[in-house]
């Protein structure tokens, strides 16, 4: 498994706490205890994750967190040093092709990446 990438310790937790606290400023439903309850973890565990004392949780938990806080799941997964399993499946199906493709795209500016489209092929008829 190569789905865990090195990240800055605490980066995920810092981001998480910052986002949750920002939401809590307007809505008490985003207290540590209530968020933990909704995503199905212990408040003490979530607190440790936010403080960087525990590594980021599992993919499923990160996805639930993203949904609860209104964050993009792919972005939150990346912060947690993970790649979502559907992307892994895509790469594993054609590893050489996608590895090549991603390396080539690495330095391409965003607008150029966005212009990469797949055309419908016209043949003989």
């Amino acid at each position: 498994m190569y789905d865990t990438l090195p990240i800055m310790p605490g980066e995920f937790g810092d981001y998480l706490r910052q986002r949750r606290e920002a939401l809590r400023a307007d809505d008490p439903a985003f207290s540590l205890r209530r968020v933990a309850g909704r995503i199905g973890v212990e408040p003490s565990y979530l607190s440790k994750v936010e403080r960087g004392e525990q590594p980021p949780p599992s993919e499923e938990t990160v996805i639930r967190l993203a949904a609860d806080l209104g964050e993009d799941p792919d972005v939150l997964l990346a912060l947690a040093g993970k790649v979502s399993s559907d992307l892994l499946r895509i790469i594993r199906a054609r590893p050489r092709l996608f590895a090549d493709l991603l390396r080539q795209l690495r330095d391409m500016p965003e607008h150029a990446v966005l212009r990469l489209v797949r055309e419908v092929r016209d043949g003989e008829w």
């Binding site: 797949r118 419908v120 092929r121 016209d122 043949g123 008829w125």
Partner: protein, 348 residues
């Protein structure tokens, strides 16, 4: 350039105008009864799923791959209509105009002539978007079409068979030609007021599980002529010289029997659509559309075309269940200049 955006076919011409973009969806709909009366426009029940043929190289027949293009699933005797939307061009107060050719089994749906690439200057063999927001069938006389209805290729019900005597292509063929940039700028000069580009939003399909264990079915469908419907094919309001000769985009749309769809794609096809009687019983809306300007007459080969029902009677078959007449109770009037994203929608 043609791409798929979900179940929408997006035809764009970035070299002509950065926002010259036409969206085409293939709408599921009710089959209107073929009972001699002229029906109003039935609703759109969501877009058919669209897939690249190339994605199923292992399971699709080789001749589909040779033609390229896309595919979509249809049940026998299921109807469809084509919905065209072009993007509004910011600052011009206009949608980019396109000439669209539509053929079924390589027989032109407007003129009835066998397919040859390109627009015809003598007999209009295309519809013009945005003036013509949809096409529901074969033009059989001025102001009347016969609905596109799918039948297995080779069973003899297609318009292709009647016009050419053979039944070898099936499917739908499309070609899109943009207006020349210079003609667009001249006809739709910039206005100061700014408006934002809007895209059509379509209802997504509800896919449901169905038939397992297909024993045998003909995988390819062709379009025959269904019941009669009031729909005008608008005459081209522009000059023929306004249309570009290059570039154009064309696409073969394979119509796959829904019973074979799962075998080829591994996906469930949409459920069987409502019958006209079921739909009408709920007093759900039918539509009438009024556009200004003259309408085209039918091409000679399509004037005397026999409907699937007429052919079936001669063959002693009954391929169209549920053909009882209905009296549309709730008719919504639509006028030219539809709001962005306005659709003929009906749902339970």
């Amino acid at each position: 350039m043609i791409e798929l955006d979900g179940d929408t076919m997006v035809v764009s011409f970035p070299d002509v105008h950065p926002a010259a973009r036409l969206r085409i969806t293939f709408q599921r709909t009710l089959r209107i009864p073929d009972d001699g009366s002229d029906y109003p426009l039935p609703p759109g029940l969501g877009a058919f799923p669209l897939r690249h043929v190339d994605d199923f190289a292992a399971s699709a027949p080789p001749h589909w791959l040779r033609r390229g293009g896309v595919m979509l699933p249809m049940y026998q005797s299921e109807a469809m209509w084509l919905h065209f939307t072009s993007d509004e061009i910011e600052g011009h107060d206009a949608r980019y105009p396109f000439a669209i050719r539509v053929a079924a089994g390589k027989v032109d749906a407007v003129t009835g002539e066998p397919w040859r690439d390109g627009l015809s200057a003598t007999t209009q063999n295309y519809v013009v978007s945005p003036r013509q927001p949809w096409l529901d069938g074969f033009c059989v006389k001025k102001g009347t079409i016969r609905q596109f209805v799918a039948m297995p290729l080779g069973d003899g019900y297609s318009v292709e068979k009647q016009v050419t005597g053979r039944e070898e292509h099936g499917g739908l063929q499309l070609q899109v030609v943009p207006m020349r940039r210079a003609a667009f700028e001249r006809r739709f000069p910039k206005v100061e007021r700014h408006r934002f580009a809007a895209n059509a939003s379509m209802v997504p399909n509800a896919c449901a599980d169905m038939f397992d264990g297909v024993v045998f079915c003909k995988a390819e469908m062709s379009l025959g002529a269904g019941g009669r419907m009031r729909q005008e094919i608008s005459a081209d309001p522009f000059d023929f010289a306004d249309w570009a000769t290059e570039p154009t985009s064309r696409c073969f749309v394979h119509l796959v029997n829904s019973l074979a769809w799962r075998k080829i794609t591994g996906e469930a096809p949409p459920t069987v659509p409502f019958t006209a009687a079921e739909y009408n019983r709920e007093e759900l809306p039918w539509f009438e559309y009024y556009a200004d300007g003259p309408a085209l007459d039918a091409g000679l080969p399509l004037k005397g075309i026999k409907s699937i029902l007429e052919l079936a009677k001669a063959m002693g078959t009954n391929p169209l269940p549920e053909n009882q007449p209905v009296t549309p109770a709730n008719i919504v009037q639509l006028r030219q200049g539809l709001r962005p994203g306005q659709v003929r929608e009906g749902s339970f």
